[in-house]
């Protein structure tokens, strides 16, 4: 009797605790600085994947359309205001597209989301608030230090940090799990 009681209690309480955690963590947008979000982040896609066809078209033609959650809104504003010199390229577009893309980027930016990657990005930027590019954040550098060192030893023109999906096979869907990594010329990658 006592045994079955304890088991039932355990079976009931464990999902309850996890459920509360997920519920606390999943409140996108509001109170993203909430304390519990740092304990229980959402177990679904680690970065917001709401898509924008316009963004895919205008930006994704030349480089991987990074999910907005990889940079804070201040960075996106800076980038979108300097499209005539976009890291050496001209990436100008008509004003309506520019406004619409900027709205999409800032609404889903790292500081507007409570998801694993946005949270980590913001944390990595707590003393450097406005990076110019995704690959500059301490979060990105930490996650890629192994592969960066490898590329330095074995230069490979097929690998570019501008194209997440050359290695992260499900990057377009917002998944960056290790099991989905296939590095050209290497295969699976274990960090």
């Amino acid at each position: 009797m006592q045994v079955s009681k304890s088991i039932v209690l355990l079976l009931v309480s464990a999902p309850l605790v996890l459920g509360i955690g997920v519920a606390l963590a999943d409140r996108d947008g509001d109170e993203h600085e909430g304390y519990w979000s740092r304990w229980f982040s959402s177990p679904v896609a680690p970065v917001e994947t709401r898509e924008s066809a316009l963004y895919q078209e205008e930006c994704g033609s030349c480089h991987f359309p990074y999910q907005p959650g990889f940079l804070p809104s201040a960075s996106w504003i800076g980038i979108m205001n300097r499209l005539d010199d976009h890291f050496g390229d001209n990436a100008q577009m008509d004003e309506a597209s520019q406004r619409s893309i900027l709205a999409y980027l800032t609404a889903n930016a790292a500081d507007a989301m409570n998801r694993e990657i946005p949270n980590k990005v913001m944390w990595s930027l707590r003393y450097t608030p406005k990076p110019e590019r995704v690959t500059e954040t301490a979060f990105f550098r930490h996650e890629h230090d192994g592969i960066a060192a490898y590329i330095q030893r074995h230069p490979n023109p097929d690998i570019s940090f501008s194209n997440c999906d050359t290695c992260h096979t499900r990057a377009m869907q917002g998944f960056y799990d290790e099991r989905d990594i296939r590095v050209p010329g290497v295969g699976r990658w274990d960090d």
Binding site: S6, L10, W39, N119, K120, S124, T128, F139, H142, R179
Partner: protein
């Protein structure tokens, strides 16, 4: 149901602790670097289980107490020598080698949990993030390596533990795995 010659050895808390720990460890192992949040939940669960078990080791039932199964190294070594000659004596609770294994598992799991929480905290996640707030750095290669190392050592211990259970079961012609479910052993 209950056979006359069987007596209660493992109390419900010990058994629930054991199998919950097994499940949480498997989940944590499978989700490493994949579902980080689920991995963290499993880690929190293990941390909680360890805390409960440490307290239960002091105030629990007879065979759950550390005083019942933690023996000096000389006793453990003598037991292992006997075991090698297949002449080890049967114990009702944990045998000396089993007791040493439990302490080793508790230590390694604690180190794994703490290093994991530190590595997670360095990425701004989990309860230990506050340790890192004042530093500009992101992530901790050091604690990631320690965490991985401790987890691997723990896994090796788990296999040795399974080997010990198999050996003990064969030697004394009893099913020790079943006892961890039912809590009972032949008297």
């Amino acid at each position: 149901m209950k056979s006359q010659s069987e007596i209660k050895v493992w109390d419900p808390l010990v058994r629930i602790f054991h199998w919950t720990l097994v499940s949480a460890f498997i989940v944590a192992w499978l989700t490493e670097d994949e579902l980080m949040s689920v991995h963290a939940y499993a880690g929190y669960l293990i941390a909680g289980l360890l805390a409960v078990r440490l307290i239960w080791g002091l105030i629990g039932t007879r065979h759950a107490r550390f005083s019942d199964f933690v023996k000096p190294p000389t006793v453990v070594i003598a037991y292992l020598k006997d075991l090698a000659r297949l002449k080890a004596k049967r114990t009702l609770g944990h045998n000396p080698a089993g007791g040493a294994m439990i302490m080793a598992l508790i230590v390694m799991l604690t180190l794994t949990v703490v290093s994991g929480l530190m590595a997670y905290g360095a990425e701004g996640m989990g309860p230990l993030m506050e340790f890192y707030r004042q530093q500009a750095s992101y992530g901790s290669e050091f604690f990631e390596e320690v965490h991985e190392f401790c987890a691997h050592v723990t896994l090796i211990l788990v296999f040795v533990h399974l080997g010990g259970v198999a050996l003990g079961s064969l030697l004394h012609r009893e099913n020790l795995v079943r006892s961890m479910f039912t809590g009972r052993k032949a008297g």
